[in-house]
């Protein structure tokens, strides 16, 4: 008896899955450091993947046990078949010749009963394991998402969006692949090998042991294959990541590509990555071919040997014919899963790598944690202005690498004051703003809002207090109205439209194909950079914070747009405390106070008029700007 078509094709189906896993590229893994002095991968605490797995499986312990019991019985029922064949031949036939139908009826009933049990259990097992797997995946996705949201901004800047996305997509998919296909396969394979081994030895210990000895060469082949395929697998992953990076970069930058005639050069570069990937794939296929041929040959040689020896034993009378027949049938099944085990090992390897990465992400402590016992901001009296006082109290900030960005300083911004911050790139303006928005926590000292440390405020309380509008004005998929309503989800349509009107965005939004209901990702939803910034402002108006931070938030606006913003600050947002980081001196003019920063320090501080009439840097800048307007 030998390898049938079924074995190979099933193995090939497994290969499909296995190769499918290969297709899930992990773009970011091969990425070079994303910024000076950082880009290090997060260290995975020892035991974290296992602890994660335990905590995910924990709630489903009873179901997992039930599933294991099911598959154990199912395999037993399935493996009984050939034994019954042997019994039918050895007992059923002679009994029938003696007109005793008993054994045959028993065998047939047994066979059909086992088939029914195996079928029903198979069905229940797939359903049950589906429920378990999906519950685990849902929980895993949820945890990754919530954790990613809780992690601080500096983490996001270091870790890059692509990595987080690939954690929650391709890594989760890899784990799902293993849960869905791999584990069931592995359990069946182990159980069937064990059952068959036991049955063979029980039926005839000599032939049984001889058959089981084949495990040794096959194990060696599998190990060799696994080593080779692992190396190829890594190469292929790296290569496909290259292909994908080149591809997406070209497609996302198609304008400069075409404008600068990069097509030919790009094709050459793409051909290199593409060739490398293809080569790795071909290598994988060849090594698979070699493994299939050698392990099959071994199995077939072994089967021949056992059958011939068995036949000799039968002719010598020390083995019954039915036992030989059963051996023949069982041997086929014993060698069935060889390819699958190799595949399983590969997919197990990639899934455990994925699980490790996920565990690493989840084990990362947010560096800007929520307070254990949040404090509320002091209540506002009726007639008080809506703004709140901001205090930087002995604050200093350094990067994790130790590089100091802001040396220790004190700064007090009274409630309702608007402060403009100017200075060259890298002067520390944005860091100042991020500390105030609590995107970072200071390394030393504290930032307070009406005397309350920002670290003691719950997130909702903090965001009622401080809102920041940045230069990048990302739009979420959905309508324009939904994008504005992010500022305050319970706002009515009237309030959304009013906020748009106040910022001078109403007209262009109304002119879109479906007005406020235009989907920003769909046809006709073409919104220019300046218009995006207006939407971002409308959002901030709607949120109505006590302190508003504008981080270069007007860079793409034209002069009327900028003036609409200034008017809104003067009317709708009057009385709020504002910190404005601007490239444009026109924005600065409306501020009550100007801070000039250089290398992390405030070098000038005063009312705009005072600074202009002085002799400092700001006066010089302002002079040059004035001249440009003439």
């Amino acid at each position: 008896m030998s390898v049938t078509e079924r074995d190979l094709t099933e193995a090939e189906q497994t290969e499909l899955l296995e190769e499918a896993a290969l297709q899930e590229p992990d773009l970011q893994e091969d990425k070079a450091p994303a910024g000076p002095g950082d880009g290090e991968d997060i260290p995975v605490p020892p035991g974290a993947p296992r602890a994660l797995l335990r905590s995910l499986l924990g709630p489903h312990r009873a179901r997992v046990v039930l599933a294991m019991v099911m598959i154990t019985i199912q395999q037993a029922a399935l493996q009984v078949g050939p034994l019954l064949v042997s019994y039918a031949i050895d007992r059923g036939i002679p009994a029938l010749r003696a007109h005793d139908w008993g054994p045959l009826i028993a065998v047939t009933a047994g066979y059909l009963g086992c088939a029914a049990v195996a079928t029903l259990l198979q069905r229940s097992f797939i359903r049950l394991s589906g429920v378990i797997n999906q519950a685990i995946l849902l929980e895993m996705r949820r945890r990754i998402f919530r954790h990613a949201q809780a992690l601080s901004l500096d983490f996001h800047e270091r870790y890059t969006s692509g990595r987080i996305i690939s954690r929650a997509t391709s890594d989760v998919d890899t784990v799902r692949e293993l849960l869905n296909e791999g584990l069931q396969e592995l359990l069946s394979v182990i159980l069937s090998v064990v059952y068959i081994a036991v049955l063979l030895i029980v039926m005839d210990w000599r032939l049984g042991l001889a058959s089981l000895a084949s495990v040794v060469p096959i194990y060696l082949f599998t190990r060799g294959y696994r080593r080779r395929s692992q190396a190829i697998y890594r190469r292929s992953r790296t290569a496909v990541a290259q292909v994908i990076v080149r591809f997406t970069e070209t497609m996302n930058g198609i304008r400069p590509v075409q404008a600068f005639r990069r097509e030919a050069a790009n094709e050459e570069a793409f051909a290199v990555s593409n060739g490398e990937y293809t080569d790795a794939n071909a290598q994988g296929l060849l090594s698979m071919a070699q493994f299939v041929a050698s392990s099959r040959a071994t199995a077939n040689i072994w089967i021949t040997g056992v059958v011939v020896w068995g036949a000799v034993l039968v002719t010598q009378g020390s083995l019954q014919l039915g036992v030989l027949a059963a051996f023949v049938l069982y041997l086929r099944r014993l060698f069935d899963p060889v390819d699958q085990v190799a595949m399983f090992l590969n997919s197990y390897q990639s899934a455990s790598a994925a699980l490790e990465k996920i565990a690493g992400l989840l084990a990362h402590e947010p560096s800007v944690p929520e307070p254990g016992e949040p404090v509320a901001l002091p209540a506002k009296t009726e007639d008080a202005i809506p703004g709140r006082a901001v205090d930087f109290d002995g604050v200093a900030f350094s990067y994790r690498t130790g590089k100091q960005v802001l040396p220790r300083f004190d700064l007090r911004i009274p409630a309702g004051q608007s402060v403009a911050v100017v200075g060259a790139t890298g002067a520390g303006k944005s860091t100042l703003a991020k500390l105030l928005a609590r995107f970072y926590d200071p390394t030393e000292g504290k930032v307070t809002l009406d005397g309350v440390d920002l670290r003691e405020l719950s997130t909702p309380e903090l965001r009622r207090g401080v809102v920041m509008v940045t230069q990048e004005s990302f739009l979420f998929s959905g309508t324009v109205a939904e994008n504005i309503a992010i500022g305050r989800p319970d706002a009515s349509r009237e309030e959304v439209e009013e906020a748009a009107r106040a910022i001078g965005a109403f007209e262009f939004i109304a002119a879109l194909p479906e007005g406020f209901d235009t989907d920003v990702r769909k046809r006709g939803g073409r919104i220019s950079a300046g218009q995006r910034q207006l939407v971002a402002f409308a959002r901030a108006l709607l949120a109505d914070p006590a302190v508003l931070i504008l981080d270069e938030a007007t860079s793409s606006l034209d002069v009327p747009g900028e003036q609409a913003v200034q008017r809104a600050m003067a009317t709708v947002l009057a009385g709020r405390t504002a910190v404005i980081i601007a490239h444009r001196l026109s924005t600065v003019e409306i501020a009550d106070r100007v801070l000039v920063m250089d290398q992390g320090q405030v070098v000038e501080d005063g009312a705009p008029a005072d600074l202009v009439s002085g002799t400092g840097r700001f006066a010089g800048l302002h002079q040059a700007w004035r001249e440009s307007l003439v």
Binding site: L112, R255, A271, N274
Partner: protein, 627 residues
Amino acid sequence: MSTQQDSRPAPEASDPSPPQPASHSATRSLLRLWPYVRPIRWFLTASTVSALLASLSALVIPLVLKNVVDGPVAHRDTGGLWRQGVLLLVLGLLEAGLFGLRRWFVARPLAGVERQMRADLYAKLQRLPVSFHDRWASGQLLSRATSDMYTIRLFLAFPLVFLIVNSMVFLTGIGIMFTLDWQLALITVLPAAPLIILCSYFERRYSAAARLSQDQNGDLATVLEESVLGIRILKSFGRHRTMAARYRAQAELLRGTELKKARLLADLWAVIVGLPELALGTSLAVGVVQVAHGSTTAGTLVGFLSTALSLRWPVESLGWLLAYSNEAATATDRFYEVMDARPADAEDGPVRDGSAVQAAPAPARDGIRLADVRFRYPDAPAGSPDLLTGVDLHVRSGETMALVGLTGSGKTTLTALLPRLYEIDGGRITLDGTDIREIPRARLRALVSMAFEDPTLFSASVSENVLMGAPDAPEEALERALDVAQAQFVRALPEGTRTQVGEQGLSLSGGQRQRLALARAVVGAPEFLVLDDPLSALDVHTEALVEQALRQVLAGTTALVVAHRPSTVLLADRVALLADGRITAVGTHHELLESNPEYRELMSGERTGGQAGERTGEGTEDGSLVR
């Protein structure tokens, strides 16, 4: 990955998936692969033949076993036993070798097919007009270049071969079974028909569920991607919970579909496991009766059961193979959706020789001239007005013209028309007197150099990124361009101008990227320069320095500069005002400030008309828009 299988452009990506194509059209789709398959057809044939021979030797093996049991064992014939043993061994080795060969024949050729298809797709996409790329999300294109290619390769490697092989094996096996014992054969074959029907029924429902789950997976990935890309906004407004609830709802939707898949799979497997076992059990009972009555031998029964077992897979696999072929047909359709799109130069009229541009006799140094240029985006909703309704503009040779206009008035669009990133719908644009439609694209784009509003850097070194504008430029040109753009910061980078930047390298700030994009535009000393708001992300200090240096470059170049600010406008000799789809005024900055109220409002914000007041500031007086 998850954003894969929707066969249409992104805008409709989350819509429910299309119905399965009918099988004849699937065949037609797959036939389109012929040009790629043709060069490897002999390898494929060899592979199919090997697989067939291997499968047939696997079928013969049970017959040999029957002979072992019936012949030598029954007759205590040791010599005969050895002969049968050798035969068994040879067949086993043959089978193993042939299956190895089958893979070996096609490993490299198929990888080659995949490479060729991907290279063709990439080359094609680079040559499709920008308007095509506007319609297609890059993720959709990517899934065509990766997972679809892979589906097609796998189809050629397995389903194509095994649809042929398994059918033949099945028929041969049935033949053998009927020869052995026609009654038993009949019992065994009977369930095959319902099995195939049930399998394909489940496969169909399963692949519909699978398609749905892929779409939902894509939607889930979108929520995730946005929540990460927009993390600053979410953190700013403290909206993680809203987003988390959205994500959870999507994830639960996906779980529902996955559970449906699991239930279908469970039913499918129940059928696959149950029906053949039923048939085997019955034929075992009948076979035993026959052996007992002496109408057949024990060896025949063993051989029969083995053959029946080995035919289980070819039957079961049919549903799966067909489902996979359908998927490959979809993948092929998706591939050709892109390959069939018309490239940018398809509609080109007669193209003059590249040298004609310099040789063009007439007004030799005419600069850039736009005459009655009309344009609308191809994907603009029907009924909406054209974006550009008749632009007339003349930028004299050597002159720098600033282009100003309200946000959204079409300035950026206008700049994209010059290098023909988009095709104009009416009117004409000439460079030194030659219609741009008569200049080959490559030549045109060498003449016109651009800096885009959104500066894109590629994964390459700083110098490669800058020298894109002029691959053959000398080292001094690079240095000069970096100086003009005030991009001296690159010298402080870890490896100077050889530092890798872009997606796979060092990430630079918006201002730094903008300066490199500017350097890229000016490095080749182009004849025509188009700058789209080139200084927007620069701080005041740097802006002043760049302006100073840029002035010298612009002195000798014909340039069109989109400007939002007076300071940028001052780089230009004259200013053109774009409003309502046409140029409404041209003049120097001062002339327009004097004479044009709209321009004055745009540049200084001073409102002059009553109408302007309605644009803005309708907030309530007490400043309490909310609460």
